[in-house]
């Protein structure tokens, strides 16, 4: 992108970006079971802070065929448990239509069983052919050879795992996390599309530059106590934190 374009975007009143989120999936087996919500409630009470207002995706794959199902009522009762249903996967046509009408988003899925929903036949039916902005999980890029000076490796929309060393003058980038199971001597940039939760892990920190979601630190600014030590680097409070592993 041109620098003029970047400036224009920065001045715009909004920014439209792709991003990926980890979400829980609530697999709905038998919603008619009298124990359904009492069991769900006790599960939620085990970790109330973790579950409070957590977005969930409803998985209807295991719904019995032709079962009577009051989806609106079901969603309301899930919300009572402080879980927020935002999307769905799978399920019979009638349930999918009801879910769409109820404002849930059809989610894509990496699992082969559910890719069926994206086949032309299903798409033609209109039930699940809505454009989808949530990104699919991609497998990590695994590199087993040393990354040499001058080389650049980018794991697009994925984690990057390197089982060798990253040399001085080499650059490794990922939209997700970066793991280096050798010495990290070059530059490592994680979460380069803006994922604040991305982290960098390495066996021996000797990096020239580390960066997460655009925030960076040069080797001069890294506490010498961490030098050549196994560490993880994460972003919190707008600051890069280095901690021993």
């Amino acid at each position: 992108m041109s620098s003029a374009g970047q400036v224009a975007e920065r001045d715009a009143p909004f920014q439209l970006r792709g991003n990926s989120f980890t979400m829980m999936v609530l697999k709905v087996g038998d919603p008619a079971s009298p124990n359904f919500f009492s069991l769900l409630g006790s599960k939620v009470r085990q970790a109330p802070n973790f579950f409070r207002h957590a977005p969930v995706v409803l998985d209807f794959d295991d719904l019995p065929e032709g079962a009577e199902f009051d989806l609106a009522g079901f969603i309301a009762r899930v919300r009572e448990q402080h879980l927020l249903p935002i999307g769905f996967v799978g399920g019979p046509r009638a349930v999918q239509d009801a879910a769409l009408a109820g404002g849930l988003v059809p989610m894509p899925s990496g699992r082969p069983a559910r890719i069926e929903a994206a086949r032309p036949q299903a798409a033609a039916s209109g039930a699940v052919a809505q454009p989808v902005v949530v990104e699919v999980h991609r497998p990590a890029l695994v590199v087993t050879e040393p990354v040499r000076s001058g080389q650049q490796i980018y794991a697009e929309k994925a984690d990057l795992i390197i089982t060798a060393s990253v040399s001085h003058g080499a650059e490794v980038l990922a939209d997700g996390n970066i793991h280096v199971y050798g010495a990290l001597r070059g530059r490592a940039l994680a979460g380069i599309s803006g994922d604040n939760a991305a982290r960098i892990f390495c066996q021996s920190l000797e990096a020239e530059v580390v960066s997460i979601a655009g925030l960076y630190r040069v080797s001069e600014d890294i506490d010498a106590a961490f030098l050549k030590k196994p560490v993880q680097i994460r972003l919190s409070d707008g600051f890069l934190h280095v901690a021993p592993l």
Binding site: E145, V147, S149, G150, A164, S165, S167, H168, G169, R185
Partner: protein, 271 residues
């Protein structure tokens, strides 16, 4: 079919030409028909180190351009049987190295020779790329200091990405380290990188450690590959490296400072 060996380093002045001359001579001494080619077009040095600069009529570039036949440009060494030199042009530049031309000549040489040693120029541009492109084996010549090690790392990346074997998805070019100008006493004083430090960074097998030696400059000045100086540590180290290249298990020497008594120190000072 002969095997193509590239002597490369990225950095200049680390001893590529010295090592190419010594290594090719060593292979010939071991009975293999060997040719050493100078890829440093415009900075012709190999013929000087090999002592054949006054016998150059046609060169590598003449053959690429079809101005001479290969056998007219090959110079037979006077000291060692089975050893030939293909000198380069001093008046041309690296653009004269066309991929087709280099490929054609190497293909011709492969039929006739056991080993083809390519003496790469410094850098990572055309000359160096052409020298390494067709290689089966790479010998990375490195000095025990950080800039040389980093440039060697860079050239290893180039080998992994831009060699013919990499481009065609064949078995990768074998990569081995030749650590030259190694001074164990300076290493001990912390003024030079240790062998292990270099190996940790480059992570390739060690072919040999050639000690810093007056014999190298002396041999170079009289146009003799230093491997022919059997009294010098450098010459012995090159011979060991050739043996290891041929698959023999030879212990590394010249890695630790020589143990000397007071008498030895006096002797060495006068030497």
């Amino acid at each position: 079919m002969g095997k193509i060996i590239v002597m490369t380093s990225g950095k200049g002045g680390v001893g590529k030409t010295t090592s190419s001359a010594a290594f090719a001579t060593g292979l010939a001494l071991r009975g293999f028909k060997t040719v050493v080619i100078d890829f440093d077009v415009g900075l012709r040095n190999l013929d000087l180190v090999m002592g054949c600069e006054r016998r150059v009529v046609f060169d590598f570039i003449n053959v690429i351009n079809g101005e001479a036949k290969l056998h007219q440009a090959l110079i037979k060494d006077k000291r060692v049987d089975n050893l030939f030199i293909l000198p380069t042009s001093q008046t041309r530049d690296k653009d004269a190295l066309t991929k087709d031309g280099v490929e054609r000549i190497l293909a011709d040489l492969e039929k006739d020779f056991d080993y083809i040693v390519c003496d790469s120029p410094a850098g990572i541009e055309r000359g160096a790329l052409m020298a390494l492109y067709f290689a089966d084996h790479a010998v990375i010549v490195t000095n025990p200091e950080v800039s040389s090690v980093r440039d060697s790392d860079r050239i290893l990346g180039v080998l992994n990405a831009k060699s013919r074997r990499a481009e065609q998805g064949l078995e990768p070019v074998t990569q081995r380290l030749l650590l030259t100008r190694y001074d164990p006493e300076r290493v001990e004083r912390g003024e030079m990188l240790k062998v292990d430090d270099v190996l940790e960074i480059l992570a390739i097998p060690l072919l040999g450690v050639v000690p810093e030696s007056q014999a190298v400059l002396r041999a170079s000045n009289i146009g003799m590959p230093v491997i022919l100086d059997e009294k010098s540590n450098a010459g012995l180290a090159y011979m060991d490296a050739v043996s290891r290249f041929l698959g023999e298990d030879v212990e590394h020497r010249f890695v630790k400072p020589e143990k000397k008594g007071l008498f030895g120190r006096f002797l060495r000072r006068s030497a």
